[in-house]
Amino acid sequence: MSTETLSTAHGENKVNYLNAAHGIKSWLLTKDHKRIAILYLWSIMLMFLFGGLLALFLRLELLGPGPDLIQAKTYNQLFTLHGAIMIFMFIIPSVPAILGNFALPIQIGAKDVAFPRLNLASWYFYIIGSGLAVYAILAGSVDTGWTFYTPYSTQTTGAVITMVFAIFILGFSSIFTGLNFIATIHKLRAPGITWYKMPLFVWGIYATGIIQVLATPVLGITLVLLILERAFGIGIFDPAMGGDPVLFQHFFWFYSHPAVYIMILPGMGIISELVSTFSHRKIFGFKPIAYSSIAIAFLSFGVWGHHMFVSGQSQYATLIFSFLTFLVAIPSGVKMFNWVSTMYKGAITFETPMLFTLSFFFTFAIGGLTGIFLGATAVDVHVTDTYFVVAHFHYVMMGGTIMAFFGGLYYWWPKIWGRMYNEAWGQASALLVFVGFNFTFFPMFIMGTQGMPRRYFLYPEKYQILQVLSTGGSWILGLGLLIMAAVLLHAIKWGKKAGKNPWGALTLEWMVDSPPAPHNFEQIPTIEFGPYDHDKVLVEPDRAGAVT
């Protein structure tokens, strides 16, 4: 349908944010939200690669029950670094800082975020924090687990202070991002974009922002106390001095439970966009999906104690935490049902982003439903701190957020670079990731209920079959991710030119050029239709020559 001539008529000679300025300085001092998104993209993906390779190595060690490749201490450092990198340096910033930074301002018709300088500062904080973390690895490493439980974390050797300080710095980065988005969404929406004409991705990021600014400071202060404890022995968490180590857990989870919704809400936002776009149909249940994000954000503050059912906390606390845990699951269910209903009588196509969306339905359903097992106190007593929990959180994080994130990467890739990726290879990578993922993590549920504790360097032989399955799966998963990286990188240079709107989507970023102009819009746009009004407008996908 579209021809090469058409595609050159688009773009090519036009000024876009990528070719508007050149040189290292134009990147390092940029205030353009799109360029900051690119800075984040490379740095965060680098950390993901790092964290992922650590995981592959860790899985390799677990191939056999004995000590095969490394020492106990090294193993403990491996899972600690894997967890800390994946959580603080990958999954928390991933969707908001990369895709949110890139798409959100355009989606609400703004020329930039409210505080561009703060936005850049947040990236520098990210770099300083991650740099410090890498330094901590070289300077003695950390073997506390990503949860830094006292009193172990105050007694063990290693660069705990440096690592904790790094995470403290990363907290600032996260707060800046959240604060920026809240202000942007409140104040910079183009005329006509009311709260109900705002894409659900924006709703998701908004709810995330609330959690980021409310929860992160508490983590900050907890980490400061941990540093003081280690450096000066102030005794607040030290049982030998009358302090209470369990108090640390309360404060840690006060942040880290809400943080799991910092991770998932932006992902859920992506899914809302993708499922509607690729069903070519209006989203089902806009308001329930939007409100459930806000509900999750607020409820998430009342459930932290479900990580501590066997810690010796009072039974009344357990009662309340368990109850609220179940409540917070309801809004996620509401979203799930609405997404599936969105496909009803649609015209569904199966480009790579949609394949990741379907994977998400499958894996997040498993991940979320196993959260119900964990919330049920009596069952949690048996499975807490076993591989069942490990499986649960990989299913929700990798199988939920990261599947959505990958879908989003493929989805916005043509907009970011102005080029299409290779669809067939993209689909192949999605399939491999899906298969590999399930092979890696499903066996862990069975290991967990059979009693295999987590963070075990050596393990009883009866679990070996399942461990081997899991390690094998991790190779398939690794291969899938490798192909994905190749497909995406290939597209940047050699991909076919992408049109404005390759998917026939209706949110604003698809109305501007690919890649967008430096300030997105020549003038603030006026809105004629809502983000999901597939009933009112029909946009033919415009791939401008991308015949794959």
Partner: protein
């Protein structure tokens, strides 16, 4: 305030991505409120720790708090409250275009903040003299109750963090002072 918008398309103080000064100012205000919220939570966390330990060791906390210097504490409270007033006066002055007055009030504010830190320093010196150090360095024996060092650990963390904030405030206000003297601000802003 907003008549400036009509005067110029994009005045120097207006960043390109805002459509008018009112939008920019409201965004800045909202941003500041959110920032204050995070500060409340930061100290809120510490008050949380204080509350827990106080609930667990009521007598020790009672005994230990008698070792705080009421006079110096009261003076410092007054100093801080006065400095809030002078900052507000400075803002009021700049809005009315009185540059000299603005500088004067800002300078007083910085002065007050510095004296706050000095007074706090005296308090610390007094505690150190008695051996009331935080945590494991604690050596004072005059307080009845279990683990009085916990009280001082929390005390030093809270006041120390607060001190850092005051110090940061001194730096920021000095910078504002400098920019005011260089005419970077005007009532339009």
């Amino acid at each position: 305030m907003s008549n400036a918008t009509e005067a110029a398309e994009h005045p120097s103080y207006l960043q390109h991505h805002f459509s008018d000064a009112a939008q920019q100012q409201e965004s800045a205000k909202l941003g500041m409120w959110i920032f204050l919220l995070t500060e409340i939570l930061l100290f809120g966390g510490l008050f949380g720790f204080y509350t827990f330990y106080r609930a667990w060791n009521p007598e020790m906390f009672y005994n230990a708090h008698e070792h705080l210097n009421v006079v110096l504490g009261t003076v410092n409270t007054l100093v801080l409250i006065t400095s809030s007033v002078t900052v507000a006066l400075a803002i009021n002055a700049i809005q009315r275009g009185m540059k000299k007055r603005t500088i004067l009030f800002l300078a007083i504010t910085v002065g007050l903040a510095v004296s706050f830190l000095i007074i706090k320093g005296f308090e610390y010196a007094e505690h150190f003299h008695l051996g009331q150090y935080p945590g494991k360095f604690y050596s004072y024996t005059g307080i009845a109750g279990t683990d009085p060092h916990i009280f001082f650990s929390v005390y030093y963390t809270m006041t120390g963090l607060h001190g850092l904030h005051v110090l940061a405030g001194v730096i920021v206000i000095s910078w504002v002072l400098y920019r005011t003297s260089r005419n970077h601000f005007s009532p339009e802003y």
